[in-house]
């Protein structure tokens, strides 16, 4: 083997090792940040109006996009599902298909993705700009911890809003499915709702969806506040932090969804 080749491989290995240790260190940094946020949570909750304000900004103001998207996703689901089910003569089962797909999977995942791009990016940009304009430093100099005053309320606002948004997304989707399936295509209304009621269980179907949406909410909120708080204090720094929030949050949602689904449906049966 030539010396050049050996040197090339060595350099590649070094870069790989550097990348891995860098990623682990970053993960540790995020974990410590999470602990710091949780540690400051009681202090933040003593001023509960701050968290309520964040629930309003991240939750209430996301309602339009969440409800509209849910409605359309449900309508498409109903059209596509009907086409497939009809081939097996099972078109009466449309209600189950729409409800299960939304409650177990699409509700948490799509509302999580929308939440990351609508609310997560706003949180990152806001905290990043507060850092750039020295507002966070000013707070520290006034002996007010920005983790308690700025970061923790936004984190909890997201964690609380996300499951509620996912539930509303699913509800809007089911209504959209009803509009297309029953009103447009003409499936029997009683069959649609009856099958749904019989085929969808609160445990595990609905609870699994709730667990997912809580986990997605925590992941997106943590990534958003972390990126904002650690953004480079320049215009480009805030811009790239905002982009990273959306990209990393979206990937995290999809990866976590796979892992959680694999655990929840062990051996082909819903647990």
């Amino acid at each position: 083997m030539s010396a050049e080749l050996v040197a090339g491989i060595a350099q590649w290995l070094r870069r790989l090792g550097g990348g891995v240790t860098g990623a682990v260190a970053q993960l540790g940094f995020v974990a410590r940040f999470l602990v710091a946020v949780l540690w400051n949570t009681p202090h933040a909750f003593r001023r509960i109006h701050l968290t309520l304000r964040e629930i309003y900004f991240t939750g209430v103001l996301s309602l339009v996009i969440i409800l509209m998207s849910g409605l359309f996703v449900g309508m498409v689901l109903s059209l596509q599902g009907y086409e497939t089910l009809k081939r097996y003569g099972a078109d009466e089962q449309l209600g189950i298909l729409v409800a299960l797909a939304l409650v177990r999977e699409l509700g948490p995942v799509i509302s999580g993705l929308l939440f990351a791009s609508r609310a997560g990016s706003a949180i990152t940009a806001e905290i990043g700009l507060m850092k750039t304009t020295e507002q966070l430093a000013a707070m520290e100099m006034m002996a007010v911890d920005p983790l308690a005053r700025v970061v923790a309320p936004r984190f909890w606002g997201g964690v609380i809003s996300m499951p509620l948004l996912a539930a509303l997304f699913s509800a809007a989707g089911i209504f959209g499915g009803y509009l297309v399936g029953v009103r447009l295509i003409g499936i029997d209304s009683g069959a649609f709702w009856g099958q749904m009621q019989a085929g969808v269980d609160f445990w595990p179907d609905v609870t699994n969806g709730i667990i997912k949406s809580v986990v997605f909410g925590a992941a997106v909120s943590l990534i958003s506040v972390f990126e904002g708080y650690n953004a480079r204090p320049t215009a480009e720094g805030v811009a790239s932090a905002t982009t990273r929030t959306v990209v990393v949050s979206s990937l995290a949602i999809l990866a976590l969804d796979f892992v959680m689904t694999a655990f929840m449906f062990r051996g082909g049966n819903a647990v």
């Binding site: 507060m130 020295e134 430093a137 100099m141 006034m142």
Partner: protein, 242 residues
């Protein structure tokens, strides 16, 4: 470097010579790699976080561009430290905020948002916020940067008047030598991380130190060179000619 109680001390130097770093060391936002920082007998870098926060409650700091909270009105900005650190009733906070605003001449601007203020007004609001809790020590980071001559005079006079009326100790980090000479009690000149000259305003005006002279006269070349370090001009220009 010592800063006596009740005086206004200016720390002067060119851009990027570590002036703001000194303020961050005093405020405990940075730790010194060597040397000591003591405020009122306490060593700042050795304080536990809770003690540091306790100390910071007696500080006020004016940031270069005000650093007002952009999501709050002028009134709320000044009420912020009071609400965070005291349990005063709302009527009292209102009266205190109006008194602070009256002191900086902006009582009429209480309900404006920070984005509606001019640079000079924002600086005065930030000053009112810095003195909201009647601090012992106020740190000013470039209080004169980017102000028109009238605002400049107003801010300079406010720093002097507030210092004397409230018996504050003030540390002013700046490169504006004319404004500083008008209001401060003592000046330190800093270059490349060390104190190279100091004195009262009269001593500074009469100084023959080369660096001080360059600074006071605004000469483009001197101990602080005009050129950033670079290879010889001729060599670099003709490098590709060979």
């Amino acid at each position: 470097m010592t800063i006596p109680r009740g005086k206004i001390v200016a720390i002067m130097g060119g851009s990027g010579c570590g002036k703001t770093t000194i303020l961050r060391l005093i405020g405990g936002q940075l730790r010194p790699q060597s040397g000591r920082v003591r405020v009122g007998g306490l060593s700042v870098p050795d304080l536990a976080p809770s003690a540091l926060y306790e100390l910071r409650r007696r500080f006020g700091m004016l940031f270069q561009f005000g650093a007002l909270f952009t999501d709050m009105s002028v009134f709320e900005n000044i009420a912020f430290p009071m609400r965070e650190h005291t349990a005063l009733p709302e009527e009292l906070i209102r009266d205190l905020v109006l008194m602070k605003l009256q002191a900086v001449g902006l009582r009429g601007a209480a309900q404006l948002m920070p984005t509606e203020l001019s640079g000079g007004m924002a600086r005065r609001v930030a000053l009112a916020r810095a003195i909201a809790l009647d601090p012992l020590l106020v740190l000013y980071d470039e209080p004169f940067a980017g102000l028109d001559p009238i605002s400049l005079g107003v801010v300079g006079q406010l720093i002097r008047r507030l210092n004397d009326a409230l018996s504050i100790t003030s540390i002013v980090v700046t490169h504006d030598v004319y404004e500083s000479l008008k209001i401060v009690d003592y000046l330190y000149f800093v270059s490349e991380g060390r104190v190279i000259a100091s004195g009262t305003p009269d001593e500074v005006r009469a100084s023959s130190d080369r660096f001080v002279r360059q600074f006071v006269d605004g000469a483009p070349d001197g101990p602080v060179p005009f050129h950033y370090p670079a290879p010889a001009y001729r060599e670099e220009l003709f490098a590709d000619v060979g």
